[in-house]
């Protein structure tokens, strides 16, 4: 065999081994843990840059996407939700429970009576696309202050109406954020989108906006907000529906 051919075959062999090896490695839980360790580093470093309170860029009316892509659940496969939607969500109530002094039950009118915040922001999907939309809602921090979080509350968990697994009520979407993100001025509970009531495809009657993170953090079809000291006992314990499928809890990148 000529030396060049030998080199070529050796390189090809090494390449095949590496490719196959990488896939086997990728599935190894220990490797997954090592790879996931970068998430904490990213979260800490990004928190340092510009400080905890930096605002996401806001845009103008002219920048709003003509078509804002709806993703994930488009119409929850749930009878209770469909009943509420048929009555224009007049029966819907947002519960605020868990580690709070004053649990709340808020109607849409209650939320609309609070000082609103309107913001035109860019929505970045983890898949890679972006849309710009105009959102109006109650500031989550104001809602939480009404409920008076207890000292031990570390996370805000969003419980949603949409079952993710063929109508299975045990598989409803959920998400969680830390207290710093929850009290950020741009973190709102949006009831309006682009100057009209939030459409069903975008999470009617209420979705959370977490403008400095990716779309999957911004839970739609909100039913209940729980303040907890740990999300280890919720779902598979990773802090959200997509987090339980292997996505990072910190979605700032």
């Amino acid at each position: 065999m000529p030396p060049n051919d030998l080199h070529r075959r050796t390189l090809l062999g090494i390449g095949t081994l590496l490719l196959g090896g990488c896939d086997r490695l990728a599935e190894d839980p220990a490797v997954q843990r090592v790879l996931a360790s970068a998430e904490g580093l990213t979260r800490r470093v990004q928190r340092l840059l510009g400080g905890a309170s930096v605002l996401a860029p806001e845009y103008t009316e002219a920048d709003v996407s003509p078509v804002f892509k709806a993703n994930g659940t488009l119409d929850p496969d749930d009878d209770d939700y469909q009943d509420m939607a048929a009555k224009h969500f007049t029966d819907w109530r947002l519960e605020v429970v868990g580690l709070v002094e004053r649990p709340l039950r808020l109607s849409l009118d209650d939320l609309r009576a609070m000082p609103p915040r309107t913001q035109i922001t860019r929505h970045d999907c983890v898949e890679g696309w972006s849309c710009i939309g105009k959102w109006k809602g109650a500031v989550l921090g104001d809602v939480l202050r009404q409920a008076e979080p207890r000292a031990g509350a570390r996370y805000v968990v969003f419980r949603c109406a949409d079952p993710m697994d063929n109508g299975n009520p045990d598989s409803r979407y959920y998400e969680s954020i830390g207290m710093d993100e929850a009290f950020h001025p741009q973190t709102i509970l949006a009831y309006d989108m682009n100057d009209g009531p939030l459409p069903v495809a975008h999470g009617a009657p209420l979705r959370v906006r977490v403008e400095r993170q990716l779309g999957y953090k911004m839970a739609k079809y909100l039913m209940r907000i729980e303040l907890v000291d740990s999300f280890a006992d919720i779902g598979s314990g990773n802090g959200g529906y997509w987090e339980d499928q292997g996505y990072a809890w910190y979605a700032g990148i």
Binding site: L55, V126, R212, W242
Partner: protein
Amino acid sequence: MSQTRPLVQTRTAPVLIYRHSVIVRITHWINVLCLAILLMSGLQIFNAHPALYWGNISDFDHPAVSLAAVQPQNGPPRGITTVFGHRFDTTGVLGLSRDAAGQPRERGFPAWATLPGEQSLAGGRLWHFFFAWLFVINGSIYLLAGILRGHVRRDLLPGRDQLRHIGQTAWDHLLFRFPKGEAARRYNVLQKLAYLSVIFGFLPFMLLTGLTMSPRMDAAWPQLLLLFGGRQSARTIHFILAWSLVAFVLVHVFMVLVSGVRNNLRSMVTGRYAIEESRDAAE
């Protein structure tokens, strides 16, 4: 009269010189690993939405580039790559390719080019961000050492004499005539300019366009959006730079192969590079 003759006869035996410091060698090979994994996991991430746009937002009906499977009126689906409205049939590689089980699937880039091989955006992101950190730490060590210890100034900045003869050097390269003897002690001017543009241009811009895609970074450093013309532009530039780096690596590896693969590889492993002492130098 024989003692008046030069004692040293003409020599063509190679002389080993110390070419690459241990920091350059280690950071080089870590960089090889990082760039390979970043490319393949990046293609995996791209596959989650295999289309590119310009500006801040995605105009889903008019992407600049897209890879998709299209069902013709009759016959099996085809992989179609669209670039600025021009359609190319890329069945088997782009848009539609076979998975590990041999089944045709709609995929931007094929399974053999992505990490992990199967469709897994979460998996691709895990690999990409871990190795992005390793790449940044490794690159910072290289740059810091390279500037402090004079490697950048001494070995990478081209001299005025080299720049003057850039045309001749380019011509020599086209004829595969490589420097010998004393001239082989330093990088030639084309090498220097290529390395400088990768180290101070392509790689830093790769990092910055990557960071521009991060919503939290855009909050902290909104100037990034101005610099690259929006998040989707940054994603498109990130993609173009990735393939520019692939092109650089292909040329780099080709030059390594044709200009003495054993010598080049040894110098990047042990640091020792052989040069042929010329007749003039020996006398």
